[in-house]
Point group: C3
């Protein structure tokens, strides 16, 4: 099991992550990852059948930075707010400085002049590394429940 200092850092990592995303601080997003990282958004059916299709797959921190550039400068989309609620993280495995952690998540969305709805629900399968700069994601896999692929997932999950 983790000691308190590590556990505290872990729950703060998730709280920092969702806070940064939901407040629209896109530039902070890549900073949660190591350089040689993997970020994927995958439908649950494909994940469970081990099919390779991903809705989004980014294979380095530089690609995450590109994605941030797209969000801020290139993509056209109707603006919306996100609000993540993440369940208590489950520490599946502690292997020295590398931890495997899973957590259920729900992303609620609010469009201009509309009521909030459920945008995306699923489970994070994360690999976290304890570095001298604090905890960082080595990989973050977002496995979402809906087979009805949203026409656009613009912002990170």
């Amino acid at each position: 099991m983790l000691n308190f200092e590590d556990y505290y850092a872990l729950v703060q990592l998730y709280a920092e992550y969702t806070g940064a995303l939901d407040q629209g601080e896109w530039d902070r997003w890549p900073e949660f990852f190591v350089d040689a990282c993997l970020y994927k958004i995958v439908p649950r059916e494909n994940h469970e059948q081990q099919l390779p299709l991903a809705l989004l797959q980014l294979e380095s921190r530089a690609m995450l930075e590109d994605r941030v550039y797209s969000i801020k400068e290139a993509l056209f989309y109707a603006p919306y707010y996100q609000r993540h609620i993440v369940d208590n993280p489950l520490v599946r495995r502690v292997d020295g400085d590398v931890w495997e952690v899973e957590a259920n998540y729900a992303v609620l969305r609010t469009k201009h002049n509309q009521l909030s709805d459920i945008y995306n629900t699923g489970r994070y399968f994360d690999r976290i590394r304890k570095t001298t700069q604090g905890l960082k994601f080595e990989s973050k896999l977002c496995v979402f429940d809906s087979e009805l692929i949203p026409n656009s997932i613009i912002f990170p999950i």
Copy 2:
């Protein structure tokens, strides 16, 4: 109050529980309970008026195992995914190895080719025992908010 080791075990118990259910690992469900357990799903109105009606009442681990068998082999239902999000557990009482814990929960549901919706919200009223095999539920009472009883609650809450 709980010490850190016990608190960590508690939040991991909830995270394990919701993870097992939402990933469809039904066989693991009874393992979260002691043999002489009580599992109930009760509408809030009945709970607050102390009326006995429950939507589901199982009075031993063997009955939970029967329920798992029904889910896997006997019941007919349209498949759906569940996704639990549980609030921080409130430790109401610590009496040696028996703890009374409450927590708000929401279960989001995703049916095939449909958007996710709110399936069930409510509050757990749990009695947890610290055993040599780890923490186990002695009783788990799921008090749900909606008076509109869903036509079928198939999977455990």
Copy 3:
């Protein structure tokens, strides 16, 4: 960072708070605050543009007690249940006995004979003081995402 005892008290504070509200224990609500407190519910757009408009602004514990009186005795409204789910609290700043804490929240609502819906989502920006009576809110700012102001927020968020 907080030590375990303080962290435990913090998560229990949030769990107590949401539990008291969602079980309708309105008289307990002001007890979560110091006497000279501030409670505000603010739309996100106004908050981000630093516009002063608030949906509700209460500037002392006595005003919270008045609000409780209104809920119990004076306001007319169709009854509904609330169910808060709060993300892991982010400890933004620890300044001795005063802590700045943020947390995403979602409030799900269930009206009589209706399905549950998403009532309000947003983020708490809280200032918490460690007192001899335990942790108390000095200020609680509820910044909600929806521009579509609900026709009535009756109960505290």
